[in-house]
Amino acid sequence: MSTALQDPQTIETPNYLNAEYGWKSWLFTTDHKRIAVLYLISISVMFALGGVFAMLIRLELLTPPGDLFTSDTYNKIFTMHGIVMIFFFLIPSIPATFGNFLVPMMIGAKDLAFPRINLLSWYIYIAGALFALAAIVMGGVDTGWTFYTPFSTTYSNTFVITAAVGVFVAGFSSILTGLNFIVTIHKMRAPGMTWGRLPLFVWANYATALIQVLGTPVVAITLALVGLERAFHIGIFDPAIGGDPILFQHMFWFYSHPAVYIMILPGMGVISELVTCFSRKGIFGYSFIAGSSLGIAIIGFLVWGHHMFVTGMSMYAGLYFSLLTMFVAVPSAIKVFNWTATMFRGSISYDTPMLYAFGFIGLFTIGGLTGLFLGTLGMDVHLTDTYFVVAHFHYVMVGGMVVAYLGAMHFWWPKITGRMYPEGWGKFSALLVFVGFNLTFFPQFILGYLGQPRRYHAYAPEFQVLNVMSSAGASVLGLGFLIPLIYFLWSLKYGKKAGNNPWGAKGLEWTTQSPPTTFNFDETPIVTEEAYAYAKHEETHVG
């Protein structure tokens, strides 16, 4: 608690936040920590915007007829919810905030390999966001975040090109972040920080960076072709003159499936950090978790066709994509089992970050299992394009990634700001998020099997009760997101000051002060121990 007396703690030690003041020192910074904070603010704004769209969707879906908005408006709302949340929140989220802040520190470096490119990537993100906001403000886009042709190229009367440019530009931000991480992790590890000693959060961001670098250019060229087709009225994807709308889908999903792994791998990296710290125990199966991140990245490029089972592709292509989808599920399962095994004979505390880790494991497991339903051919024929899919991806993206993001926020907030958040409120909000989330999205599995299609403005009356449940849950979930916003901001001024290592965690970032100085370490650390070396005793090997 702040007191009226001057006590030594209120005299600010120099750190990256107070090293320089003024807007120029922020907008022209090359300090990876400041850039991370810039990203944190920007993506929080975009998350709030996407959340407003979500609220409008759930309000409309309280009643079967489309009575709150016109059809066109509703179509724009769900499209913009998807575009904003996926491209402007989820894809950058953990890598651009916690990745930027922590990866250099975790490997013992002063900064990323290319600090100015890091700043450039933030500016590019802002430029992309401005295009997206322009599309929204000028009247919106209504193609769905998937931009399927020929609707997006020929039939839609909305600001498709503006939105596509926004996504295109934001893609370059993603590519540059990935490039920076790859080079940094390869070239800038401190002495003794071998690949086998890297924190798993670093491995996760590395695998994510590989996907960003390889996949994003393909969606860039795909959207560029859509924009050019729309501008010049030439039919690359227009069947009327021999174009193939399914080619668009192949090109689009070639990126967008690996993109979902961009959206989950960093979250899994966070969970590895949380589970080890709050079990106070080294990770079980380090090489399997590291390897599974790479495995997901690689196999994730081979399964895109499972979004297209009912488009008329050949049966043999269907077989291939379904089988590979089963393969890609295995590494994720390995992680869940390894995290559980880490807790075995651990020393488990229930701080808020750990509650989010528990929530992640539960919700991601359900999300991942329902993904298998969708990867199963005969089953997918019924379930695709229904609310079952909507439920599945919200379980993994919100129940997984956003929950991991909140866990990361609570875990590293003391390091980033030097302040603690109020723990009681932290636990309360975690509970609200968990309950609200399940109430919102579990009924949607049932709705999907019943046959309610997605992207429906009005629905059959017998689906109403489940929709009302879902909307009720959404208000609880929204509250669960709002409360942390308030107490995090509150903590900046009134939160208890955090020491270097309030959690007693292992990891180089916890050896620095909170908040860290601009160059992180006074001297380059020399690493002599494995990751998560909580005990210095003999390790036991089992089997």
């Binding site: 390999a113 290319f114 490119i117 590519i175 490039l179 920076n180 790859i182 080079v183 940094t184 390869h186 070239k187 800038m188 670098v213 390889l214 996949g215 994003t216 250019p217 393909v218 860039a220 060229i221 795909t222 560029a224 072709l225 050019l228 501008a231 010049f232 009225h233 030439i234 039919g235 690359i236 003159i241 021999g242 174009g243 193939d244 080619l247 090109m251 070639f254």
Partner: protein
Amino acid sequence: MGQQFDSATFGMWVFLLTEIMFFGGMFGAYTVYRSMYPEAFAATSNFMNPAFGAANTAVLIVSSLTMALAVRAAHLGHQKVLQMMLVFTMIFGAAFLVIKGFEYHEHWEQLKVPLFASHWAWDGPLAPPQYAHQAQILFIFYFFMTGFHALHMVVGLGIMTTIFVMARRGKFGPSYYTPVEVSGLYWHFVDIVWIFLFPLLYLIGHTKQLF
């Protein structure tokens, strides 16, 4: 310095990897359409003028040679040679764009390529009318692929200008030549993309006399 050199070149290689995926998307889509419409493809290929293409290929290969020589000059600290080679590289790069410009002009006239928001009412003088629509698609790919390539060339010229100015100011020598090396990588990559474009768009399936 060594670590920075390593990082910078590694970073450029990773960036080139993203460029491979970018162009690769277009190559992939082109390949799909080519296999769907082989006759239309043959028609478009016949329309290309391989003389222009060959000239451009020669120009680019020579420019890559001068670029490599420039990098070597930087390694060795031969400032005059470095500057001269950079200038030659830029001249050849500009020559490439000029030749491309003539070529595009010819296409513009003959194919009546429209500007924004008007329909392409091409009545294909050199392709059978039943392939008109598919040929249009393939021409679009030709324009996009060579167009994005030309855009990369323009960016390359900008980079070379910057490097030249830095060289004039004596920034490079045996202990520091990272920007030259990294720009060299970029330039060679743009060259290699053309090496793939030329046979794909101009040569394969071309049945007319070459010259």
